[in-house]
């Protein structure tokens, strides 16, 4: 991880990125749609190294909603990884999942959340849960490392068992806020 990167990646000792990867395998997730976030960087590397997974890097997050609609039409299960700012790009496209009753688990790393430094991240970060819920998504937060795997597991199960968009928001408190050397 570039130490000058603006986002924070999980600590090398953190177990939760590998736990999420294991859950994706357990649930037979074969399409991983993403716009990168530092918080997901280790998970993304694990997925890229897995020949059974199609990792699709998107130009904008709403492409992922449509991609996973197509995946489900063809019997493949997918997950969408993104940063909270990307949730704003998804709003209208979530109509697809609701209209067709398409399972759509989203794993969102939060910015503009706990101790944010960058003012531009705050408007969307503050609105993330509200807009997802306004579009019919069932949202659960995980704000401690131990909470992440069970919450992600529930989010994936809820999506594929009940046919709807669901999301886990991984709080910035878990990742820590970048301070640009101002701490």
């Amino acid at each position: 991880m570039d130490q000058h990167a603006i986002d924070k990646a999980p600590d090398a000792a953190a177990e939760w990125p590998d736990q999420i990867y294991s859950l994706l395998k357990t649930h037979n997730i074969t399409q991983v749609a993403l716009v990168p976030d530092a918080g997901h960087s280790r998970l993304i590397r694990r997925c890229l190294a897995d020949n059974e997974m199609k990792v699709v890097t998107l130009t904008t997050e709403e492409e992922g909603i449509a991609l996973l609609q197509g995946a489900w039409l063809g019997g493949a299960k997918g997950v969408l990884l993104m940063q909270s700012s990307g949730v704003g790009n998804c709003i209208n496209m979530l109509s697809l999942s609701i209209m067709h009753r398409c399972p759509l688990p989203m794993l969102v790393t939060m910015r503009g959340d706990f101790g944010e430094f960058n003012p531009a991240q705050v408007p969307m970060g503050n609105a993330t849960q509200t807009v997802l819920e306004a579009m019919g998504t069932l949202v659960h937060r995980a704000d401690t490392p131990e909470d992440i795997a069970p919450t992600v597991n529930a989010t994936i199960r809820l999506a594929f068992n009940t046919f709807r968009p669901t999301a886990t928001l991984i709080g910035q408190r878990v990742l820590g806020a970048k301070t640009f050397g101002k701490d």
Partner: protein, 200 residues
């Protein structure tokens, strides 16, 4: 196949492209392309979209990756394609051999009062697809080019991208079912059989 304007008739073009389609799965962008595929014949292998503007090509990608042995065709309009134009880059990188995208380009937003789109002002979607890295492309304006287009979408050496310039006249509405859960479930059953409804 030509309209009075001298341009291709959209519904005759659609009929020609879907002839002898076999097991091809078809996604149609919202608006006129959805009415077009329905007018030719509604079936489980069709997913006519009612919304999600800008998402048609990406739905095609997800389906093509999930079912690499099935041909997948996305038929959509110029306005819909422009809204999700980044998908061309995403698709070019994934290189699905079984995916074709045909843009029926009437240079207008047909459902909202025929306002002009960018393609009527020189924006070239084929050049954009080529720029993204999609190597197999066609630009079709004449009836005698349609059989080659039909051959290309069935060839399976995609990703393939084409623009067909069509007459802008609206056609009679032929509406598909409006229940999205039905549209999704019937295509899943067509692909996987009744087991589709018990997938965990």
């Amino acid at each position: 196949m030509l309209a009075a304007s001298g341009k291709l008739d959209r519904r005759e073009l659609t009929r020609a492209l879907l002839a002898d389609r076999g097991e091809m799965l078809v996604i149609a962008g919202l608006g006129a392309p959805a009415w077009d595929i329905t007018a030719i014949g509604d079936c489980a292998e069709n997913l006519p979209l009612w919304g999600g503007m800008g998402g048609a090509a990406m739905i095609g990608l997800g389906l093509a990756l999930a079912q690499p042995k099935r041909k997948v065709l996305v038929i959509t309009g110029d306005g819909e394609m422009l809204m999700g134009i980044g998908a061309l880059a995403t698709i070019a990188v994934q290189k699905p051999a079984n995916l074709s995208i045909v843009v029926q380009d009437n240079e207008h937003y047909g459902e909202t009062g025929m306002q002009e789109t960018a393609t009527g002002h020189g924006v070239d979607l084929v050049m954009m697809a080529k720029g993204a890295g999609i190597r197999h492309t066609m630009f079709v304006t004449k009836p005698d080019e349609v059989s080659a287009l039909h051959k290309a979408i069935h060839a399976g050496n995609g990703p393939f991208f084409a623009v067909a310039k069509i007459d802008a006249t609206s056609k009679p509405l032929v509406l598909p079912p409006r229940e999205g859960a039905l549209l999704q479930a019937r295509m899943r059953e067509a692909v996987m059989g009744p087991a589709a409804h018990h997938q965990l």
